[in-house]
């Protein structure tokens, strides 16, 4: 999705280099090409493209990746604020 970019400098995705074993799962599951494996280590190539879906952290066998996953949805976040709970798509239909 080269044409679409959202805000820079907000994504919470982090990679702990020491724990990475270079398996490449993050590169495989990321729909935005945020990661690439170079020299047997994953690299954060394009952090600002991250939409925080959490696929990389979920599939990282050594827990080298952390991200605060969630739904990038205004209605869900508003619901979360109003109900004081975790954002969820509570549109019920």
């Amino acid at each position: 999705m080269d044409r679409f970019r959202y805000f820079d400098g907000v994504a919470t995705v982090r990679l702990a280099d020491a724990a990475c074993i270079g398996c490449g799962m993050c590169e495989e599951v990321c729909p935005h090409g945020v990661f690439a494996v170079r020299d047997r280590k994953a690299r954060l190539l394009d952090r600002d493209a991250c939409m925080e879906c959490g696929a990389c952290a979920m599939n990282c066998p050594t827990k080298a990746i952390s991200v605060q996953p969630g739904v990038g949805c205004a209605a869900a976040i508003l619901n979360g604020w109003l109900s004081g709970s975790k954002p969820s798509c509570g549109c019920g239909g």
Partner: protein, 375 residues
């Protein structure tokens, strides 16, 4: 497998559908009554229903209805194992969600492939949203593999999952839990055949989510139906407000000015829910509220130019501000339908945009009511 891409609350790629809905788990009944089932295939684990790849008028009507938000909760297929074509023990296993729209896309796009389709119970939600909610998840994959006795049906130990299911599934945990390794297939179901033909390799393009105009357009009806109820209440308030004036309350004014206000509300909703999504790449800025505000403001300005003379300046300005605010707010909600907005980003945008939208609305209200007394 291979849903299509989708933003939460609404996935992209033509097959998108906002999340929401769902809730209860899906029953396993009436599989043979479904019109996409055509006989059975015998396996060591018992007969498995065979599905065909045709998408008929009933399927298309069903798709159209859920696009408009009608019966989306109930648009499901029974979870379990299905056969596509004439799969043998070495045929690939494609895993997908039990949202019928998704299932239809998979069986249609995989036409000509002999494969097993393992349908998870995602409570009628598409792959992307269900993965976000965890119903398209590690536990459900393991449970469904065990329950369908898949190890007796196939002689390999490999599952092909749609890439957009990855936020809910830990591949290494699935292997630990049921002995099957997970291969993430392409984002879009239409790439399944190509993916299988080259020995389960996805090209970089198959791995990327895109959000073309037709996909954005397909998501707009449900954006509109989603705001119908609050819009109805807003319209009632607008008619009441329109009657307020020097004569305390005037039915005539309520009607005339009410029509104008409700028309502006409707135009603001259309600007935010349809015009902004369609023109998304061409509207300036990255923030949805700015894109929506611009679309609403420009449309309002054009409409008011055409109406010159029939509205007093304060009333015209009030409608302009209100349409900008409504369109901006509605457009911001489209973040839920896009496959590229992060929650951190949306929250940042909302903290900035909500006060501005509220301010515009208050200013519009003051101008609207105050203007009535100035006449």
């Amino acid at each position: 497998m291979g849903e299509e891409k989708a933003g939460c609350c609404a996935p992209p790629s033509g097959k998108a559908s906002p999340c929401c809905g769902g809730g209860s788990s899906s029953g396993a009944a009436i599989r043979y009554a479904d019109n996409f089932v055509e006989g059975t295939v015998e396996t060591p684990a018992g007969p498995v229903p065979r599905v065909h790849s045709r998408v008929g008028s009933r399927d298309l009507l069903g798709r159209w209805k859920v696009r408009w938000g009608i019966g989306r909760d109930r648009y499901r297929v029974a979870p379990g194992l299905y056969a596509l074509g004439a799969p043998g023990a070495d045929a690939p296993v494609l895993v997908t969600a039990n949202y019928k729209l998704t299932f239809d896309v998979v069986r249609h796009e995989a036409a000509g492939v002999d494969a097993w389709i393992l349908v998870l119970d995602t409570r009628g939600i598409n792959v992307w949203c269900a993965a976000g909610e965890g119903t398209f998840g590690t536990g459900e994959v393991i449970r469904r593999v065990t329950e369908t006795r898949l190890p007796e049906v196939v002689n390999h130990r490999r599952l092909v999952l749609p890439q957009l299911g990855a936020p809910g599934v830990a591949a290494h945990e699935v292997r630990k839990g049921c002995g099957f390794s997970v291969v993430y297939g392409p984002v879009r179901a239409r790439d399944i055949r190509a993916f299988l033909e080259v020995g389960m390799k996805a090209s970089p393009a198959m791995r990327r989510v895109v959000f073309p105009t037709m996909d954005r357009l397909a998501l707009t009806p449900v954006e509109i139906t989603g705001v119908l109820r609050p819009a109805g209440w807003a319209a009632a308030v607008l008619f009441l407000l329109a009657g307020v004036g020097p004569g305390i309350f005037s039915l005539g004014a309520a009607w005339d000015r009410g029509i104008a206000a409700v028309a502006a509300l409707a135009a603001g909703i259309l600007a935010g829910a349809v015009v902004t999504p369609v023109l998304l790449p061409w509207l300036p800025g990255r923030s949805f509220s700015v894109k929506g505000g611009l679309a609403g403001g420009v449309i309002a300005a054009c409409a008011l130019m055409g109406q010159r003379g029939s509205l007093h300046a304060p009333a015209a300005l009030a409608l302009l501000l209100a349409m900008t605010a409504v369109s901006s707010f509605i457009a911001m909600n489209f973040t839920g339908a896009t496959p590229f907005t992060s929650p951190s980003g949306v929250e940042k945008e909302m903290r900035r945009a909500l006060p501005v939208q509220a301010g515009l609305t208050v200013a519009a209200g003051l101008l609207w009511v105050g203007g009535a007394f100035l006449r």
